[in-house]
Structure formats: structure tokens, C-alpha cells
């Protein structure tokens, strides 16, 4: 019982981090048709900026979270305005371009912050553990679950209940018609890219409470969030959330039961979903 609860909580907290990343990729893909492979690198940059603020320079943790998000967001903004704009509708080139950014951002991060793994860190008020019914659980992980869920609800509300969300969804379905209705889709694209990148950096610092910071994150977390998207389906917040929680839990239970094989369960889940529902469990269209 104790094992069940703890593993579920571990899975939820990690899964929600993956959700934040997958949601960003999915949102950017939906609106702009760009598969941003450097999203994991943005996560890593956010995490490093946060680490540098909170641990190296001793600033407030929440300020570090904000700055991590902003740093990633600004990088995203530069990518979108300087590079992707010129590759409109050239999908293959865009994918490869984002791959080039992985190399650049990862190597620059190693240059600036070093290649060593940095242990997880958190805010002073979040250190320590809960003690409920004989169970002990770190407060930091609980806070990750809360923040993740709040953001999930916020994103869902934004995409499904607001005018902005309606524009975004319309852009996903038919760009030309949306533009002909007098909507400045360019502005929407830029804002969505910034938002997605911001969330990635934000998730980087939040996630650093669980997994710390290291340069290999840029590929590792990207792969997991891609598996999340294959399972959940591109284009909807719910899909990314479901995929994230599933993969988080599979990963947590796998690590607890068969530490050597944990990774294979996530891939196995992906292959099964591909065989049964190639568009993902909650994919759009």
C-alpha cells in the first residue's frame, strides 16, 4: 500500500513535468506546424538558469523559476523571429533546424555551467517532508504535482474556453481561413512560441526539484516527452496530460519494481499504443 501510494505520487510528479514539456511541443506544433526538437534544450537552459540563480547566487527560488522561464522564452522568441519565420511551411528544414539548436544550446550550457550533474534543489519552505498516516513524502514533490495540475487546468482553460484558445484551435484546423477572418496569426504564433518555450524553462526549474540539472537532459527529457505525445496524441492539452501521467507512472513503477528495465516499459507502452491507436489515445482528428 505504502509502495503503491509513493510510486503513484512519484509518477504523478514526474509525469506532470513531462506533461508541461509535451504540452508546449504540442501547442507549438498545433499552431505553427513546427516540431520543435530543441524544446528539451530549452528545458535544460531554464533549469541551468534557475540553478545558477537559486544555488550559485542564492536568489529566491521563485524568482529563479521565473527567470528560468523567461530565459527559455526569450530564446524561443529569437528562434521564432529570426529563424522559423524564414522557413515558413518548410517542415523538414524546420525540424532539422531545431536539431541544430540542440547541439548549440547543449554545448553552450556546458561551456557556461560545466558538464557535471547538479543535484536537485528547492525553495527553503519546500524542504522537508509530509508525514501522513505513517507515510513520509517530500513537500517539494507535492508542490510539483500542485503546480503541474494548476498549469494543466490553466492551459486547458486557455485552449478550450477562451477567445485566444479558439483562435489557436482555428489556426490548427485551417490557417488560411483563420487569417482571412482578419486574425493576426503571426502574432498568435509568436506568442504561442514564447508561451511554449516559457513553460519549458519554467518546467526546467520546477523539475530540477526532482531530477536536478545536467546537459544530457536536453535529449533525455525530449525523448520522454515525445513518447508522451505519441501516447497522448498531438494537439490537445488532455492528450498530453494523459500521456504524461501514464508515462510518469509507468516510469515510476518500472523503476521501483525492475530498475534495470524501467526504460523499456515506456517504449513498450509507446509501441502498444502505436499498434492500437497510431494517432494517440486522445489525438486531434
Amino acid at each position: 500500500m505504502e509502495f503503491l501510494v509513493l510510486s503513484t505520487l512519484n509518477g504523478l510528479s514526474y509525469g506532470l513535468i513531462l506533461f508541461l514539456l509535451a504540452a508546449g511541443i504540442s501547442l507549438i506544433y498545433g499552431v505553427m506546424g513546427i516540431l520543435n526538437l530543441s524544446h528539451g534544450a530549452l528545458y535544460m537552459v531554464g533549469a541551468y538558469v534557475g540553478w545558477s540563480m537559486a544555488v550559485q547566487n542564492g536568489y529566491n527560488f521563485w524568482l529563479a523559476v521565473l527567470m528560468g522561464g523567461l530565459a527559455a522564452g526569450l530564446l524561443g522568441l529569437v528562434m521564432e523571429r529570426v529563424f522559423f519565420r524564414r522557413l515558413y511551411k518548410q517542415l523538414n528544414e524546420q525540424v532539422l533546424l531545431t536539431f541544430g539548436f540542440i547541439y548549440i544550446l547543449t554545448n553552450l550550457s556546458i561551456w557556461i555551467w560545466g558538464a557535471t550533474y547538479q543535484a536537485s534543489f528547492t525553495a527553503p519552505i519546500l524542504t522537508g517532508s509530509f508525514h501522513i498516516a505513517g507515510l513520509t513524502y517530500p513537500i517539494a514533490r507535492i508542490s510539483v504535482i500542485f503546480i503541474g495540475l494548476i498549469l494543466a487546468i490553466g492551459l486547458w482553460w486557455l485552449q478550450d474556453k477562451t477567445r485566444v484558445g479558439a483562435i489557436v484551435r482555428a489556426g490548427m484546423d485551417d490557417k488560411e481561413i483563420t487569417m482571412s477572418l482578419g486574425i493576426n496569426l503571426g502574432l498568435v504564433s509568436t506568442s504561442v512560441f514564447f508561451l511554449g518555450a516559457f513553460i519549458a524553462g519554467f518546467a526546467g526549474v520546477i523539475g530540477a526539484q526532482l531530477v536536478g540539472v545536467s546537459p544530457t537532459l536536453s535529449i533525455d527529457i525530449l525523448l520522454l516527452s515525445m513518447v508522451v505525445l505519441v501516447i497522448g496524441g498531438l494537439g490537445s492539452v488532455q492528450g498530453a496530460l494523459l500521456g504524461g501521467i501514464l508515462i510518469g507512472c509507468i516510469d515510476a513503477f518500472g523503476k521501483a519494481l525492475f530498475p534495470e528495465l524501467a526504460m523499456f516499459f515506456t517504449y513498450l507502452a509507446m509501441i502498444i499504443v502505436l499498434a492500437v491507436r497510431p494517432r494517440g489515445l486522445l489525438g486531434r482528428r
Partner: protein, 336 residues
């Protein structure tokens, strides 16, 4: 009038001469020159040819079929790992056994992974191929059976035994062996892309719905192309294991997949000479960057990646080809 005709005749002959001269130059550089070069240059040229095979195999699916895989190194690595496993667990280093088995394993993996990945198209396909490649990478990293004791790699792979008592490998003879394999692969792939099958692949690249309407089973065509590409990647992997004498998990991973994809793009997709030129440019750059600033190499590579995609999208190979045509036109074509 007669003088004009005469003039154009000589110019035509000049054009032919120029073309012949280019073939001669290629022959000199690839066949006659290598024995006189230092052995590290020979080794570099061997590596270029191996990666040229690998890059051409990727271009078969990427440039000719329009299916982008970010996990193509999986089949390259499987080829290499098979050679290594045969050596360390079964004590087989015979060329006639280890090379075919290596290629066969690459085909097998491509056949299985193709079934999984071709369930989906477009971006999902990129995801899935990349994830499957990383799966093999992590297996190779974690499973001790797949490495020499004490390291996370298979080390000490010798050049293959050929069964001839009087024969022993030198860098030069191995270079010629790889050159032979390269010419063979180039010839086969050239035949393939200019066959009805190859034209059907290009049709799928340009418009899959149209080909489907014409009655082609496009899925099957893509699947077969994917497996064939896996086989040629396996050839590259086997040769690279012999050449490099060590296989590491990275040979299976996204790092290698991306590098070879960059070769294809840099040289020019949808051509066979493009990937070769891409390999011929990138391998020396990688070599010298590794000597000068190994820790900044990814940064250089990434920057080159971005710049070439922004500015030389058609590929260096294609530019060179156009330039060459211009030269031939100026000095050798019929102009009044």
C-alpha cells in the same frame, strides 16, 4: 557557316574533354593517389567512403522517398555491433560470415522497426524512429553482454580474416576494400533509384495520394525502401566496425543519426553524389575540429547545421554540380 559548325565541333570536343578530365581526376584521387598519402589520410578517406555509403542509404528514404528518419544510425550500429558480438562471444572474425550476418541483422531490425514506425507518418514518424534508435542505444549502454568487460563498448575488433594465408591487411589494402564496397553500393543504389521502383519512390515523395490513386501500395513501397536503406546502413556499420576497431553505443544513437542526416542535407538531398560530398566535407571537418577543439565540436557542428539549413538549403553538392555545369557550358558548349 562552316566555320561556326567547326567551332562548335571543337567546343563540343572541349566539353567532352573536360568531362573526361573530371573522371580522370576522380580516378586519380580515389585510386591512384591513396598509396602515396600518409596513413592517417588513408584512414580518413576510408572513413569518408564508409559514411558516404551510410549517408546514401539515408538519402534513399529521405531524399528519394520523402520519409525522414532520425533513427537511421540504429541499423548502422546494429551492423557494427553484430560484428563485435560475433567476435567476442562466438570468436568469429571471418569476413565471409561476420559481414553478411551483420548486414542481415541490420535488415532484420529495419524490418521490425519499419513495421512499428511506418504505422504513422510525418512528425510522428520522426518521433518514433528517434525513440527506437534511442532504445537500442540504451540497451547497448546497459546490457553487459553487449560490451567488452569493463567498458561500455566493444573494443579490439580486428580487420576481418579473409581465409587467405598469404594475405594481411594494410591501411592501403583496407582502403581499396572499402572503395570497392562503396563503388558497388553506389552502383546498386544508382540502379535502384533509376528503376521503376525508384521512380515510384520519387512519386511517393512528390505526392503520396496521387500514387495511391494510381494503384500503388505506397505503404509497401515505403516499407521496402526503409528495409533496403537499413541494409545499406548495415553495410556501412559493418565496415566501420572493422575500420574503427571499436563499437560504442553512440553509434546507434541520435548523435550519429543526426550527423549522417546533416551529411545528406549538406551535400544535397535527392541525389546520390550529394551525400558523398556531404561525408567528404564533414568527416575531415570533424577530424580537425577533434584535434583543435574537441569540446567545442558540437557547437561548430550545430552552427554549421543552422547556417547550412538557412543559406545552402539545396546542398553544397548541388551547388558544385551547377557550378560545374556552368564551367562546361562556358568552355565547352555550342555557342555561336
Amino acid at each position: 557557316m562552316e566555320t561556326t559548325a567547326l567551332k562548335s565541333m571543337t567546343q563540343l570536343r572541349q566539353g567532352q574533354l573536360l568531362r573526361l578530365a573530371s573522371y580522370a581526376a576522380i580516378i586519380v584521387i580515389l585510386i591512384l593517389l591513396p598509396p602515396f598519402l600518409p596513413s592517417y589520410v588513408q584512414s580518413l578517406m576510408t572513413k569518408i567512403l564508409i559514411f558516404a555509403i551510410f549517408a546514401m542509404s539515408l538519402d534513399l528514404i529521405m531524399g528519394y522517398t520523402g520519409v525522414i528518419s532520425l533513427g537511421h544510425a540504429a541499423y548502422f550500429g546494429v551492423g557494427g555491433y553484430t560484428v563485435g558480438i560475433l567476435l567476442i562471444h562466438y570468436d568469429i572474425s571471418m569476413l565471409w560470415i561476420s559481414a553478411p550476418v551483420g548486414i542481415l541483422m541490420a535488415v532484420l531490425f529495419a524490418a521490425i522497426f519499419g513495421l512499428i514506425a511506418l504505422r504513422v507518418t510525418g512528425f510522428y514518424f520522426i518521433f518514433v524512429t528517434m525513440a527506437l534508435g534511442q532504445l537500442l542505444f540504451s540497451i547497448a549502454f546497459k546490457w553487459e553482454w553487449l560490451s567488452t568487460v569493463g567498458v561500455e563498448a566493444i573494443v579490439g575488433i580486428p580487420r576481418p580474416a579473409v581465409g587467405l594465408p598469404w594475405f594481411s591487411w594494410s591501411p592501403t589494402s583496407f582502403y581499396y576494400f572499402v572503395l570497392l564496397a562503396f563503388v558497388l553500393c553506389f552502383f546498386l543504389l544508382n540502379r535502384l533509384v533509376h528503376s521503376p521502383f525508384g521512380y515510384a519512390l520519387q512519386g511517393i515523395r512528390d505526392s503520396e495520394p496521387r500514387m495511391r490513386v494510381l494503384g500503388y501500395n505506397t505503404w509497401l513501397y515505403k516499407y521496402i525502401a526503409f528495409v533496403i536503406a537499413g541494409a545499406f546502413a548495415g553495410v556501412g556499420g559493418v565496415l566501420f566496425a572493422y575500420h574503427n576497431s571499436i563499437v560504442v553505443p553512440t553509434h546507434l544513437s541520435i548523435t550519429t543519426s543526426a550527423l549522417v542526416m546533416f551529411m545528406v542535407i549538406l551535400g544535397g538531398t535527392g541525389t546520390l553524389y550529394g551525400p558523398v560530398i556531404g561525408a567528404a566535407v564533414l568527416i575531415p571537418v570533424e577530424f580537425y575540429a577533434g584535434l583543435i577543439t574537441p569540446e567545442r565540436w558540437p557547437l561548430i557542428l550545430g552552427g554549421a547545421f543552422v547556417l547550412s539549413i538557412m543559406y545552402v538549403r539545396a546542398g553544397i553538392g548541388v551547388y558544385l554540380f551547377r557550378l560545374w555545369n556552368k564551367v562546361v557550358y562556358r568552355y565547352g558548349s555550342i555557342k555561336g
